[in-house]
Symmetry: none
Subunit: 218 residues, 4 copies
């Protein structure tokens, strides 16, 4: 009894929030968001039901925190890997990042499944123009996401600027790359349809290079 009390009080605020997010991620990826209830989350996380509402507005609120944080992590990991290389050309850098992200997602299909329908232009755009806004996300169809510190677009801008080449409509360029890659990798990685990811990669990389090429200012 005293033991339980001690244990609980030892878990501080931050820890509780993280416990909830970790548990929610586990459940969202294993059962799907729709079939995961707040009761499921709090029970598995070992906190009381009321506690959930101290940190999150509802189920979609916690989902948004998760997507931002997972997507950010994905890109930052890829960018860190890029930093350890000395790849000079922008095309090769982008392809490297794409490849790295695909590898991460191949290793972690539940993450892919989770972010696949959300990691789209909405994420980037939102992070770019309005990183602090809060919206009512109480639906499944929303694709606008909060992202506390999402900084990938800055990384992208930095890459473009660091290059000694010029691109027009860099935003559209990024948009097309993101959409092409994220939508094709889903069925390829998860279901090997219409082919597995290793077969798909050459096609994908070729198209990525085409996109860059078509946007280059000569």
């Amino acid at each position: 009894m005293a033991n339980v009390t001690l244990k609980k009080s030892a878990i501080n605020k931050r820890q509780k929030k993280e416990a909830l997010m970790n548990t929610a991620f586990e459940l969202f990826t294993s059962k799907g968001i729709n079939k995961t209830s707040i009761s499921d989350i709090v029970e598995k996380a070992g906190v009381a039901k009321g506690t959930f509402y101290l940190y999150f507005k509802d189920k979609y609120d916690i989902r948004n925190y998760l997507i931002s944080s997972k997507a950010e992590q994905l890109f930052l990991t890829a960018h860190k890997a890029l930093d350890t290389t000395k790849i000079p050309e922008i095309e090769d850098q982008i392809v490297f990042i794409v490849d790295n992200c695909l590898n991460q997602l191949t290793e972690n299909p539940s993450l892919l499944n989770f972010i696949s329908k959300n990691l789209s232009w909405g994420v980037f755009k939102k992070a770019l123009v309005d990183p602090e806004s809060e919206s009512d996300m109480n639906t499944m169809d929303m694709d606008e996401l909060d992202s506390e510190n999402f900084s990938f677009y800055k990384i992208y801008q930095y890459l473009i600027n660091s290059s000694d080449r010029q691109f027009k409509d860099p935003e559209i360029m990024l948009f097309m790359i993101i959409e092409l890659v994220s939508s094709t990798c889903y069925s390829s990685i998860l279901y090997s349809e219409p082919c597995n990811i290793d077969e798909l990669k050459p096609h994908l990389f070729k198209q990525v290079r085409h996109i860059l090429e078509d946007h280059e200012e000569v």
Copy 2:
């Protein structure tokens, strides 16, 4: 006489089913699937609750019927329009179809919103390999869809074969086109992000041609 009676009740049944589908489509596009209950559908359609279950297994069953039928309609309309032209080259034919579909979706954003997250490779593949299978769709995360008579893939094959040119991996080729177009058009048409659809089209068409080009057997 008996024949007439049979016909009459069969027509009635068809009408009920269509009334339900029309109502469901309206509600799905206006409120979203998750926020639409079966009660909502039957109430608006003016039939009893039990009647719904005479025609559909559940909410996701009616959704699947809708997606199949709407997507089929979309492509058939585009193909019919193509037939009225005399476009000889396969690249131009494909671009024409893409353009026509984009125009239809621009005219009908609620349709776009409805099928955008479902009109993906799952639809085609399903129709292609297993048009009769029945799957348990009782979740939101499913992306495999029944499609009774879905025949777009056949049209596509016909176009490829009619051409005097050779393409390798035509399935992957189609896959990339479909995914690129469908994922980019969503935010472009609905939110003009990162640019409106008219701005996007040149980029899109150029990429579509690149994809064909890269698959051509010379």
Copy 3:
């Protein structure tokens, strides 16, 4: 089509009623009465829903027909077997009938399961005093049953009268035998609890003889 019509019209009234009863028995014994719906019965019997109501008032009506008919059959079979023997003494006759019934039920556990909770004094009494009455049976707790031609009590009376011995309170005597045997055989035959039926029989037969003994007028 004409074929179907022919087939259906060829099944006459009696046949439909029997098809319904046979199907209902199958379903009642396999799924239980509560979990069997009228839809289940008519579907499996191959008749239309409305047809059910031409022959039976509701689910409990058909159940009662079944119990009467099955129980009657059980006892008549036992009595027929007795007739082929030349057992002279009433105790041995009764024990023979009990044994024969137990054997039938052991061979046919689903029948046992079906009648076990209904084959009690209610059945006999009802048949004895009021074989034609019709009661609202729309509950599970009812144990009063219609029995069109149920004649076991007459057989019993005949056996008692044919004997050259005298018994007082023959009705109570029969009552105790029936209740003892039917209630013990249920768990013994179906679950071998607290022992299997072969182990139980000696105990049972001894008690049956005791009951007769205690009622004999000396």
Copy 4:
């Protein structure tokens, strides 16, 4: 302090659960289990529907709790009454308990009606071998019942062991007594069929003594 709070809410919980059980018992005995809905129970008990599910899995769960608790109470009352007497012989003790139970049931016909079809060997056996097991009772045909603290079998063993006489197969012996008494008393007490309980008792007691006699090891 915390202790007091805990106790208070625990008491509250116990009260809610008991309110539900009392209400359910009233409704089960007056309308029958099949015709009693959970809505009926919660409405009459004055709690919200969801509250029911905090304490019970479904209707059959609460039924099982009730049968266990009512049957336990019945036997414990009978045994307590026995303790106040100085009856030395085991036959007389058993007959006393049977008589006492019959008297309680005569006083309380709704209790009889409720437990009559369930107070069978299943109850005792279950309590005997596996008092903690949990089974899916979601059917009407179940006759295996949970019984948290059901201790009658222990009382019975104690009585047998305290006696200076020896009995073989005591389990079968008890089984036959229980089944004979419980199945006959139902129609006798509730419907005076084929005779009232006072007329039946001498017959019953005589048979009970016969059963003991036949199992005695001399």
